[in-house]
Each structure stands twice: as structure tokens, then as C-alpha cells.
Symmetry: C2
Subunit: 405 residues, 2 copies
């Protein structure tokens, strides 16, 4: 079911499977490129469908829908990693240009496959093991001295699907339970997190690669709440290593489009900072939203250019530091219209770039984000506080610092 | 006739009368503000209709169409100045929020009305006179010593509707001819142009005002080809005077939304630089496109915020200089797909921000623009050359400087 829509003659057509904020922001970026985006959306009022004319309503788990929406596209891409790879293989067999391709995507879908691949290419990962029985988790518990992080191989997000069992018995019981639910599992060593970093990079099918400055990402309860670019107080060697690692991963795995390499910063046995790959995302990523207002080329524009195999844009930062703070639904939706909350934020911070996703309130839901570029005389900490205050006000209608105008 | 569309609950709705690139870029800017834009479009494949879901097909010279599209909006605004003011008065009588209002708009529609108003508020304009007869133009020719610029009061654009008759007889003949066609006329003194400047400003109905840095705009054959921000090699006093003038005009005329004050820079009798108002535009303007990539808040976002009476955004520039070069249809459309031309430009200039409007080629047609922010070590002249080369390549598929990659 498709709404009527008129395209510019000869404009490249990119089909995006998915209707969330990422597709929404890709459409926004595509407008100035003069290209057409078509989306496969689950609902007519979804985040993307609200703002774009070429909406095909359907279900990405339905092979016919995926095929129908993809035909005639110059490239097919995604705002999530959940389209079954068999569908994508079928599209490719039909001659449709799918980017990134399933052979790369599997590394963003299956944590065990990804870690094996990382080991192959020499990228740092914690010790890990596939877990198919209670015995295996007991064994892994012993090997790691009880420092176990248990994960579902697939389908985890925002910290769901990750556990840190305290005892071998707890671990075994948990594994029994999860296996019974039919969830394939893996375990890895729990590392001492100093913090989380994200190395973003884009690559075209022809092999052009461009990285963005490495970001520090702050998580709360498994959800990204803040990203600071470039990662503050970070040694040049770590920044270079992270960027280089992203280059290696994107090239070795032949990822196309934008890749986020989520990293843990930890300390090695000699007490030196060290980075470890945690997760890969093959699409624009929350830790790259800052590029919209903080870089010459945003991740959304770059993704579209990359999947169409067109030259990539300059990724230079625009200001000395940019902070992105997520607008996460509060426990209660305050009794003040969102429009008024935005106004209060703009009044206090005329340089706050508010990005809303057109989503209804739900606790902890990603409803938008705020980008702020550091201004003269402002410290990084002041910038971070400002961005957090802004994002927080948008969901609570309150300033945590007592500001009264 | 309206296409089905689903809006975010409670999102402010801005109706834009018009379907050109300005409405297209307003829609793009509105996406991140979480608001809904609805357009009255003349064609289903017009520049704006290609990229936005809420399209009402209709005619802005039809009162019913204008009323239909406007009902239920939080604000009604425009991408051109041609909606009959009686329609807007009728909307206002119905309680619909029209911004800017007809009392301000008339100054962007009628050059004589505008000049009279400028004189009233003490803004500098050249000597001028309404022309209703051959005798009057002969008189004005004498007064100005033959330095006459004859203009149609309404409907001129891109240099159409402007003449410089060489002799009193030529002038009289031209006037006779134009009056016979029913065109109301005015004449003003032809000034010695040093160059053209543009002072952009935004104002809310509540009276908040923010200016952008003053721009030099370069015209060729009456069409804007380039804008440089801030205006290079300009005395601080001229820049301040121009910005101050924009503040006065926007406030005195109670303009809402974005106002462009097109200025002539000339020299006074003492040989000092002087500015004179040439024209007013009450909407985002070609000389403000650079703000998309060169300012914290673009003119498109600002216009939407202003017409909704919401706090205005920071207008600080992002880089030391930003140049906008228009992509104007060449005499012939080169035999290379636009997509490939863009790719060549990106390959040469990875920091070129290309904005395309989804328009088919026509000679001299505004098909897009290129923004470039000055990078370290680059001179303003180098930046201007680069932006011009980029824009020119997009319509000719040729580098004028012999670049071969
Ligand atoms: N090996 C580990 N050692 C220590 N902490 C870990 C480890 N693995 C995960 N974590 C913690 O759990 C959080 C969620 O883990 P992970 O990113 O793997 O899960 P996810 O839900 O799939 O994430 P995402 O939302 O990024 O998709 C991490 O942000 C980190 O704080
Ligand atoms: N008084 C004047 N003295 C000298 N040159 C003038 C004068 N008025 C207009 N011009 C020249 O003619 C050009 C077009 O004039 P003007 O901007 O009034 O026309 P327009 O077609 O309505 O413009 P626009 O495209 O900005 O709407 C100007 O850019 C300038 O170069």
C-alpha cells in the first residue's frame, strides 16, 4: 500500500527499510541532495511517515513487502538491523543493490559471529565463548574468575539481553532459563570500564573510507544519554587507535554506509588505557547525531552518499567540541505542552539545536536529542551541563540547577 | 485535493503557500523541530511536493484554495509574495494566524509603497517618484540629470521590470508603452553601485529580533549568483549601519518571520560609502541560503520559529566566511547526469554542501545552490572561486580553470 508521490525526474531513489528516527533524519538529509527516499513503514503515523511522501506501509518481516518496496531503487538500506538476511540475499539475487550487504550485516546482528570475526582480523575483544549449556557457563565463570557478562547473541538493545550473574549458580540458572526460551547465548569477560567510546566511519562499495572524530558516549541503564565529540581528556594514541580500528573493521568486513564501532575503554595489565570492541552498528547511530550540527557532513548525508557509492563528504568538526544529549521520556509526561518546553529551552539556550522525532511520550523512549557546539569561553563541562539541562527540561519541564530565567 | 497524511499528535502546523525551493527548505528545517508543514502546491511534482507528505494541490490566486489549506494551521506563511492581500485579510478576519501580515507584506509587493514607507521611517532610499504620465518621466529625467531607473511597482523579479532609459524620449516612449499595458510605474534615481549587500533579520510577532551577519550579494543579469558572508572588505560602520537598518525596518514595519533588506552600497557626495534600501523580501531569501551551513540557526528554521512566535535561535556564524553560489541552469543541459556532476564536485571539493531543488533544467533557472565554509589557510577569494567552480560544474559539467582531477 503506497501513497501517491511524485519524484524529481532522474533523482536517485534510496529505499529505507524502517520508519524510526534514523530513517526520518536520512530523509531530511536526502532532501538537499535532490534524491528520493522511499520508506517501508509499519504505521502511517510513524516517525518517518510523518515527514516524507513516499511511504509504503508494510512489514519488514514479510518477504513480499520487502521486495515490493525495494524494486526500482538505486539502493536499499536500513534504519535497523532486523531484516532477515535471507530476504536480502533474495533481493541481491534479483539484482537489487542492497547496502550494507548481509555478509557485513551479520556482524551487527549476531554478537558471537562478530566477536569471532574481530578475533580473525586482529581487532581487540574480551575473552568470549559460545554458551550452549550450564556446564559451559560454569567453565567460563571459572576461567574469568567470576567476571562474566552473559549476552543473547541476537536481538539485544539498550542493555536488554545483557546480564552480570554474581555466582556460578546464578549464571547456570540464568543460562538454563534463557536456553529454554530458545535464545542463543554467548558470554564474555566482564571488563573494567573506564568509559565507552564510539568510532564512526563511512565506506562506499568502491572502498572510499572517511572517519569522524571519536566520541565518548555516556550510558545510563544501558541507554545512551550523551555523546561528546571529540572524546574529552583522551590520549592522542587512544583516539588514533580507535579511528584506525574503525578503518580496519569497515574495510575488512566490507561494510558500506555508516558503521559505528562501539568501544570500551579499559586499562590493560600495565595500567595503560586500552580499547576493546563491544558492538557494531551498520547505519547512522545515536553516537553520531552530533555530526548534524557539529560536522561539515552529517552521518545521515554520508550514509546516503555511501550506499549510493558516491564520493564521501568532509568529516571535519565545525566547533571545538559538540555535545549531543538524548531526550529520553521521563517517568511521567509533564503537564506542559512539548512546544512550550522547547520554547523554554530555546529561551535559555539560543544555540541549542533541538531535534524531535515526532514520537509520543513513553518512559525512557528516545523522543529526540539536543546538539550544542561549544562557544568561546565555555568549558567542555559547562557545555555538557547545558546540553543535559536542555534535554532534561524537554522531558521534565524542570531545570535541575534551579534556573528560573 | 489533499493526500492522506498523518501528523504527530499536538505538533504545531505551519501552512506554507507556495511549492518552490523555499517551501522545500522550510519543510526540511521543520522536520527536526517536530512540527508539521502543509503546502499549497501548484503541481504534484513541484519542488516541495516531492519531499513532503501534506500537499494540498491548488492555486494561490483562488480564494477557496487558500482558505481551505489554511484552516486549522497554527500559522500561515509564504514562499513568495504573490498571494492577494484581500485573501489574507479574509483569513485574518476568520481568526487565522497569518505571518507576515498584509500590512507588512505590501512593502514587499509594491515598490512605491515601500519607498514611501522607508522615507517615513527615515531609511535611506534614492530620490523617487510615482510615474503616471510621459510628462512625469520627462520631469524626473530632468531632475536626476538623466540618471533614471524606471520600475514596475509590482511583479518584478530577477531584473525583469527594471529599465535604464538613455534619453528623455526613450523614457517617455517606454512609459507610454508600459502604462498602456496597465502597469503601474515608479522611477528612482540611478545610483552608482559599488556593490549590493543584504541585511537579513528575523522578528517574532512578540517583537524579538535577531539579525544575521550582513552579506555581499553578486548579481549577474539581474539574478543573484553569489552571496558572501560576512560581506568582505567592508567597513565596520557600513556593516553596523546595515544591520541596524534591518532592525529598524523589521520593527517599524512589524514584519514577522525572515526579512531580507536588499541594499545598494554607493558613495555619498563626500566620497564615503553609503547604503540605500533597494528592495524588501519577507520570507527566506536567496542571500540567506548560506545560513544553512554557515550559521547556528538557518533562515529556514528561524522563519518557522518566528511565524509561530517562538524564541529565535542564535545567528552566530560557524566559520570565518561562508560563500553561497547559485546553481543556475546553463544555456544547454550537458550530456552528463546531474548525479555524476554532483559526484565530480564532491570529489574535488569534499566540503561543498550541495543543495538541489528537484527542478528540471531551464536556462538561468535556479536549480540549487552550493555552500562552502572557509577552511584554514584558504583566502576569501579562493573560497569564492571554489564555490563558483562547484556551482558552475553542476550546470556545465566543465571546470573553467582547466582542472582535470
Ligand atoms: N564485557 C562487558 N564488560 C562490562 N560491561 C559490559 C560488557 N558488555 C556490556 N557491558 C555493559 O552493558 C551495556 C550494554 O551492552 P551491549 O552494548 O552489548 O548491549 P546492547 O543492549 O546490545 O547495546 P546497544 O543498545 O548498544 O545495542 C554496555 O553499555 C556496558 O555498559
Ligand atoms: N536605483 C538603481 N540604481 C542602479 N541600479 C539599479 C537601481 N535599481 C535597480 N538596479 C539594478 O537592477 C537590478 C534589479 O533591480 P531590483 O532588485 O529592483 O529588481 P527585481 O527584479 O525586483 O529584483 P529581485 O530579483 O531582487 O526581486 C538590481 O540588482 C540593480 O543591479
Amino acid at each position: 500500500m503506497s501513497r501517491a508521490s511524485a519524484h524529481a525526474l532522474g533523482a536517485p531513489l534510496v529505499t529505507i527499510i524502517g520508519d524510526g528516527q534514523l530513517a526520518r533524519m536520512m530523509h531530511q538529509a536526502g532532501i538537499e541532495l535532490g534524491l528520493t527516499t522511499r520508506v517501508l513503514a509499519g504505521a502511517a503515523d510513524s516517525s518517518t511517515a510523518q515527514v516524507t511522501p513516499d511511504v509504503v506501509l508494510g512489514d519488514y518481516t514479510n518477504r513480499d513487502h520487502v521486495e515490493e518496496v525495494s524494486r526500482g531503487s538505486d539502493a536499499v538500506t536500513f534504519d535497523h538491523e532486523h531484516v532477515p538476511n535471507e530476504f536480502l540475499e533474495a533481493l541481491i539475487a534479483e539484482g537489487i543493490n542492497v547496502q550494507p550487504q548481509p555478509k557485513a550485516l551479520v556482524n551487527a546482528q549476531d554478537k558471537l559471529v562478530m566477536r569471532k570475526r574481530m578475533r580473525e582480523i586482529g581487532a581487540p575483544v574480551p575473552p568470549f565463548m559460545e554458551i550452549t549449556s550450564m556446564d559451559e557457563i560454569r567453565e567460563f565463570f571459572d576461567i574469568t574468575g567470576g567476571n562474566v557478562c552473559l549476552k543473547t547473541r541476537r536481538g539485544g538493545y539498550d542493555g536488554k539481553g545483557v546480564w552480570f550473574p554474581a555466582t556460578a549458580d546464578d549464571a547456570a540458572e540464568l543460562v538454563a532459563d534463557l536456553l529454554e526460551q530458545g535464545l542463543p547465548l554467548m558470554a564474555e569477560k566482564k571488563v573494567q570500564l573506564v568509559r565507552e567510546l564510539s568510532a564512526m566511519v563511512a565506506r562506499t562499495p568502491s572502498g572510499e573510507v572517511r572517519t569522524w572524530p571519536v566520541v565518548e558516549s555516556v550510558q545510563e541503564d544501558g541507554i545512551c544519554v550523551e555523546a561528546v565529540a571529540p572524546a574529552p581528556d583522551t590520549s592522542a594514541s587512544i583516539l588514533t587507535a580507535a579511528e584506525e580500528l574503525a578503518r580496519v573493521v569497515v574495510s575488512e568486513l566490507e561494510v558500506t554506509g555508516v558503521l559505528a564501532v562501539e568501544l570500551f575503554e579499559t586499562v590493560d595489565e600495565a595500567g595503560q588505557p586500552e580499547i576493546i570492541v563491544n558492538e557494531l552498528a551498520m547505519r547512522p547511530h545515536n553516537t553520531g547525531h552530533w555530526t548534524q550540527d557539529g560536522c561539515v557532513t552529517s552521518q545521515f548525508e554520508q550514509h546516503l552518499r555511501a550506499v549510493l557509492d558516491r564520493p564521501l563528504g568532509d568529516t571535519s568538526p565545525i566547533g571545538p567540541t559538540t555535545v549531543m544529549a538524548n531526550v529520553l521520556g521521563a517517568d511521567n509526561d509533564p503537564n506542559m505542552a512539548m512546544r512550550r518546553r522547547m520554547d523554554e529551552v530555546w529561551r535559555r539556550y539560543p544555540n541549542a539545536k533541538i531535534h524531535m522525532y515526532g514520537k509520543e511520550w513513553r518512559p525512557r523512549r528516545k523522543m529526540g536529542h539536543v546538539n550544542m557546539v561549544r562557544t568561546e569561553g565555555q568549558s567542555v563541562d559547562e557545555l555538557r551541563t547545558a546540553a543535559r539541562e536542555a534535554a532534561n527540561y524537554l522531558v521534565t519541564a524542570q531545570w535541575t540547577d534551579g534556573y528560573t530565567g
